[in-house]
């Protein structure tokens, strides 16, 4: 049994708990909409913009911060 690397909740065999896993899935699927909306939008720039928006959900922001910290940005 593993703990979610973001919040420490039990996450079964996965790296992320169900909430942060869903947040990551949503973040990835919204990238498609953003890519069509904004030409040549790189993933890094996309998550930076999403993270700055007030409307972005808490778990999504936590996932973004985790990705950014891994990338060293």
């Amino acid at each position: 049994m593993r703990d979610c690397k973001i919040c420490g909740r039990k996450s079964g065999d996965e790296e992320l708990c169900e909430y942060h896993q869903s947040a990551l899935t949503n973040l990835k699927s919204a990238y498609e909409i953003w890519s069509e909306a904004e030409e040549h939008l790189a993933w890094e720039e996309y998550i930076k913009q999403v993270n700055e928006l007030e409307e972005t959900g808490r778990w999504v922001k936590e996932i973004i911060e985790n990705i950014m910290s891994q990338n060293g940005s």
Partner: protein
């Protein structure tokens, strides 16, 4: 003996039924009863204080399962209910010389049960021989009519009340104990964590909404803003597509429109007739009072109840949106005509046809909420006045003529692009004149343009926006959802909405789920999902309705509820350790989120926490090293409102920032606010405001 529900009701009922309209008030210490005479009848009017009796477990021990209960005087269950004992004693004593008992409590499930229990347990009387007065307002006319047409007790309603109390008691105490004891077992702490039959599903609605908010990813869209010029007059034009999904499209459209000439294609007018809103039932009154005054539903109910006890409005706990044909509308309007604020409106209505608009919802016991036409005998408080005015104006508006509005629209083309502008003209205000401040529609005139004319597009630009996540609940929208899902009753819903907040499961005016709320939800969802499901509790509501209608037996419903509960508790017991661990983790996160304010600036190794003084009960910030005598750092805190720590530090003094939410107001400050150099101006202004208020209140006598 006439048994009423509250002291105010007793006084009013005694005055209404006494032939001379002046009953004798007999005082016995802090309580009283009334004696009056009506024809040959000598009447003794006594009062309860809501429920005088409560359910208590039969077996001993703060544990679970506990399935058997009995009715006992309330002061045996609630040690604070010391005022109940003399009332029960007085009723018992007076009952000895009574030959007929009449229940005159509120005409609803709770009222019927209060009357029945008082009769059976305090008066020791035979309910089969007792009578029941049924009324929807406390006016003399309604009460006299209710007295002369009194019938037998409404036993199916009493049975339904019994079941509601028993089932809520069973689920409330057993589930709450199960949760609380699981924490005690794992961590040794005694922290009461509650849930209940309706509270569980309510928490799950809030948690599900919070999940959607937490998972929300906004996506961009663009809107086009155009200003047209027609013969020197500028006008705002809207692009036919409200949202564009790409920046490229938005850029292209701006380029294609800017500086171009557009042509007025067509002018359309649509006349709409709007009928008045239906009469108020409790939930629509609560929604409207929240919308206009920001009153939470429980506050509106309390105000409406007090207006009812003053005989100013009809009984507020009603589902009905209808006024019965027997209602003396002319009498009510004449009464309102005697009040300065409503005189003109009432007189103008009285000259017309007195047929009100009706809604669809019905209630077997009471009509929709309406004023009685009685003049207030005392000055109403500002809040009472607001709700009373809303009720009166809604009632008056029911007799108004339909409102007639013209929706105007001009369609404009520019090459392949379509634009439009809209206007709204109110031709006839109709009923909205009576509803006054509670109806708002902004009129907008359409520019003076004709078909075929040219409009020059002088300014075209776009705005980049983002989609919004689902909104959080507010007290009114959560109450509406409970009503839609048929959870709870019109009388209990507002207190259920309040309880989710008062238990610490949500924070702020909007129902933002707290970490504690999330922990309880997560635990129940993982281990006993049924307790969160509206399905189970909705089924029970249906069964209770069936008891009230006489098609189901109380014993059967209780038996099924107990069997179901036992299976949940068994499951709970088997997983008690896991459940306790999940809750303890959640509680630790909750305390960290709500009480910890980071490292102590004085001693460095202590943690600042929100604590309460055991002596004064006041809260302040203290260091965790205080108990060991190592650090005495403290900061004062505002005493009102909810405080939540924020991430950032104060730009002026580098102390932790906090958010304070009090009622609908919220502000941010730092924990060092009383000494922070950046906040002295604000403090000075606050002191001045307070002094001014004090002078205003004392009429300047102190200065």
């Amino acid at each position: 003996m006439i048994i009423t529900e509250k002291p105010t009701a007793a006084k009013r009922i005694a005055a209404a039924l006494d032939a001379a309209k002046s009953p004798e008030e007999i005082k016995k210490g802090k309580i009283a009863y009334y004696e009056c005479r009506r024809g040959d009848d000598e009447l003794v009017v006594v009062y309860a204080l809501g429920h005088l009796f409560e359910l208590q477990q039969v077996e001993k021990g703060w544990t679970y399962p506990r399935l058997e209960s009995k009715w006992v005087p309330k002061y045996e269950v609630d040690k604070k209910a010391t005022n109940i004992k003399p009332i029960i004693n007085l009723i018992q004593k007076l009952s000895k010389d009574i030959d007929e008992f009449i229940i005159a409590t509120d005409y609803d499930i709770e009222g019927s049960l209060i009357g029945y229990l008082t009769l059976k347990l305090a008066c020791k009387a035979d309910p089969m021989k007792a009578h029941r007065m049924l009324f929807s307002s406390l006016t003399d006319a309604d009460l006299e009519q209710a007295y002369s047409s009194k019938g037998g007790l409404d036993f199916p309603v009493i049975e339904a009340g019994h079941v509601r109390h028993e089932v809520d008691w069973l689920y409330g105490i057993n589930m709450t104990r199960a949760l609380t004891l699981s924490i005690k077992k794992v961590a040794g702490w005694f922290k009461v964590v509650s849930t209940g039959r309706v509270q569980g599903p309510t928490l799950s609605f809030v948690a599900e909404r919070e999940r959607l908010i937490n998972l929300f990813v906004p996506t961009p869209f663009w809107t086009i803003h155009t200003i047209g010029n027609h013969k020197g007059n500028e006008m705002d034009l809207e692009y036919f597509k409200k949202q564009l999904s790409s920046r490229q499209d938005a850029n292209r459209i701006v380029d294609e429109l800017i500086g171009q000439d557009a042509t007025v294609d067509s002018l359309n007018q649509r006349t709409v007739t709007q009928q008045p809103h239906p009469p108020f039932n409790l939930s629509s009154l609560q929604a409207e009072a929240y919308k206009h005054f920001g009153f939470k539903p429980s506050r509106t109910l309390a105000i409406a109840q007090s207006l009812y006890l003053d005989a100013l409005i009809s009984y507020p706990r009603t589902n009905s949106e209808m006024l019965p044909p027997t209602l003396d509308i002319k009498g009510i309007l004449t009464g309102l005509g005697g009040m300065k604020d409503y005189a003109q409106m009432a007189k103008s209505i009285l000259r017309g046809n007195l047929v009100p608009v009706q809604g669809k919802k019905t209630d077997p016991a009471h009509p929709s909420i309406h004023p009685t036409g009685e003049k207030p005998t005392k000055q109403l408080s500002p809040s009472d006045k607001k709700v009373y005015d809303l009720i009166v104006r809604r009632f008056l508006s029911l007799f108004g003529e339909p409102m007639i509005k013209n929706h105007l629209r001009a369609d404009i083309t520019c090459g392949i692009h379509k634009l439009y502008t809209r206007g709204l003209q109110i031709v006839k205000r109709g009923w909205s004149e009576f509803y006054g401040p509670y109806f708002k529609a902004e009129e907008k005139t359409l520019p003076n343009i004709k078909q075929g004319e040219t409009i020059q597009l002088v300014s075209v630009d776009f705005e980049n926006k983002y989609t919004q996540g689902p909104p959080r609940f507010n007290p009114a929208s959560l109450l509406k959802l409970l009503e839609k899902e048929n959870l709870g009753t019109k009388a209990t819903r507002s207190s259920i909405v309040d309880s989710v907040k008062s238990r610490g499961y949500t924070q702020g005016d909007k129902f933002e789920l707290s970490t504690l709320g999330f922990a309880v939800f997560e635990t129940l969802a993982q281990y006993i999902p049924d307790i969160l499901s509206p399905r189970m509790t909705r089924q029970l509501e249906i069964e209770m309705d069936n008891i009230q209608e006489g098609t189901e037996k109380r014993e059967n419903v209780i038996k099924v509820a107990k069997t179901r509960l036992l299976s949940y508790l068994e499951e709970f017991k088997n997983k008690e350790d896991q459940i306790g661990e999940t809750l303890v983790n959640g509680l630790q996160r909750y305390w960290k989120d709500t009480e910890e304010l980071g490292p102590c600036p004085k001693c460095d190794d202590g943690i600042l926490r929100v604590v309460r003084s055991p002596k004064s009960g006041k809260r302040f910030v203290g260091c965790s090293n205080y108990k060991e005598g190592k650090c005495d750092q403290t900061f004062p805190l505002p005493q009102r409102g909810t405080i939540s720590p924020m991430e950032g530090m104060c730009p002026y003094c580098d102390h932790r920032m906090i958010k304070v939410v009090s009622g609908r107001r919220s502000w941010t400050t730092c924990i060092n606010w009383s000494r922070c150099p950046g906040r002295q101006e604000d403090l000075k202004a606050l002191d001045e405001r307070r002094s001014k208020k004090k002078v205003d209140e004392t009429g300047g006598q102190e200065s």
